[in-house]
């Protein structure tokens, strides 16, 4: 639904970087790898949190 606040595995705060990542890698056409390096999300446990995330608020909001 919303991006997880922290990485499930190591506890690093990843929510902080979601909006920039989404803008640059998902909406924009930058390489996700480079964006993550740029954001300082180094470990693969934290990287998968952002790469594999999908916002679902728009999907569920009509069914309130």
């Amino acid at each position: 639904m919303m991006v997880p606040v922290r990485c499930f595995t190591c506890g690093n705060v990843v929510g902080e970087h979601w909006e920039e990542f989404d803008e640059r890698a998902n909406e924009g056409d930058e390489d996700p790898q480079e964006v993550l390096d740029d954001l300082g999300v180094d470990r693969y446990c934290c990287r998968r949190m952002l790469v594999s995330h999908t916002d679902l608020v728009d999907v569920v909001s009509p069914y309130q």
Binding site: M2, E16, Q64
Partner: protein, 249 residues
């Protein structure tokens, strides 16, 4: 008995550092590491009172998200285990509620990161809540864990023992951490963790330096690295003092 430790920083930022400790036994190094992860208390939201929540997520889900937001932890002695700090949040849609929208009653306890999205609010949705933050340890809940991905490795001493035979192709030799080359400390990231990049055409020998450990310490922002390490040492010290006094009785 007085132990002589020698500490030297290799990399250093506010939230991430690498430092070498010489003269430390593996057992004590592990004690310090464990204390950093589980025994240093940090502030985190523990109770949330919802005044209005018409968002798409349940109260409990939002309370969990609020709890995971790192809060700056006040200096030692400023707060006790039972003290609480109240933070409030009031956001009306269409907008996204961020961790930065939390308003704290205490300047010492503030969200360490301000851009963590809590919940996206649509038209006519609203989040209004009061939250109580408490001081607790990583042992009790991961949200109170100040250190993330803390570990240590042996310092590795690299010695050039000779040249490779002329026509032999050099194989890559991966090492991670920090190497000691003639007294100089070099993080392996400088040569892409591959010794064949640093010593082309050379034959090298790598050995662990006994009782020399390189700690990698990263925090979630609730404390800086120095605070975390000193408080971990303090927590071991206070337990040892307590035991000493308890035994004397």
């Amino acid at each position: 008995m007085s132990e002589e430790y020698d500490v030297e920083f290799v990399e250093r930022e506010e939230r991430e550092a690498r430092f070498l400790v010489r003269g430390i036994s593996p057992g004590f190094a592990n004690g310090i590491r464990r204390a950093m992860v589980a025994d240093v208390p940090t502030m985190a939201i523990d109770t949330v009172r919802f005044i209005e929540n018409s968002s798409v997520m349940f109260d409990e889900q939002l309370a969990l998200r609020l709890g995971l937001v790192p809060l700056t932890t006040p200096p030692e002695g400023e707060f006790g285990e039972d003290d609480t700090v109240t933070l409030s949040i009031d956001v009306e849609g269409p907008a996204t509620a961020y961790s930065g929208d939390l308003v704290s009653e205490d300047d010492l306890v503030q969200p360490a990161d301000e851009n963590v999205p809590i919940i996206e609010l649509k038209e006519d949705q609203r989040l209004e809540a009061e939250a109580d933050a408490v001081l607790d340890r990583g042992k009790d809940h991961a949200k109170h864990q100040g250190g993330v991905a803390i570990g240590y490795r042996h310092l590795q001493r690299v010695e050039v023992v000779g040249d490779l035979p002329e026509f032999e192709e050099q194989e890559s030799r991966i090492v991670r951490g920090v190497i000691e080359d003639d007294g100089e400390l070099v993080p392996t990231s400088e040569f892409d963790h591959d010794l064949s990049n640093r010593y082309p055409g050379k034959e090298v020998e790598v050995e662990d330096v006994p009782n020399a450990f390189v700690f990698h310490v990263e925090t979630d922002g609730s404390l800086d690295v120095e605070e975390l390490v000193t408080r971990a040492a303090d927590s071991i010290e206070s337990r040892a003092t307590e035991l000493e006094e308890a035994v004397q009785l």
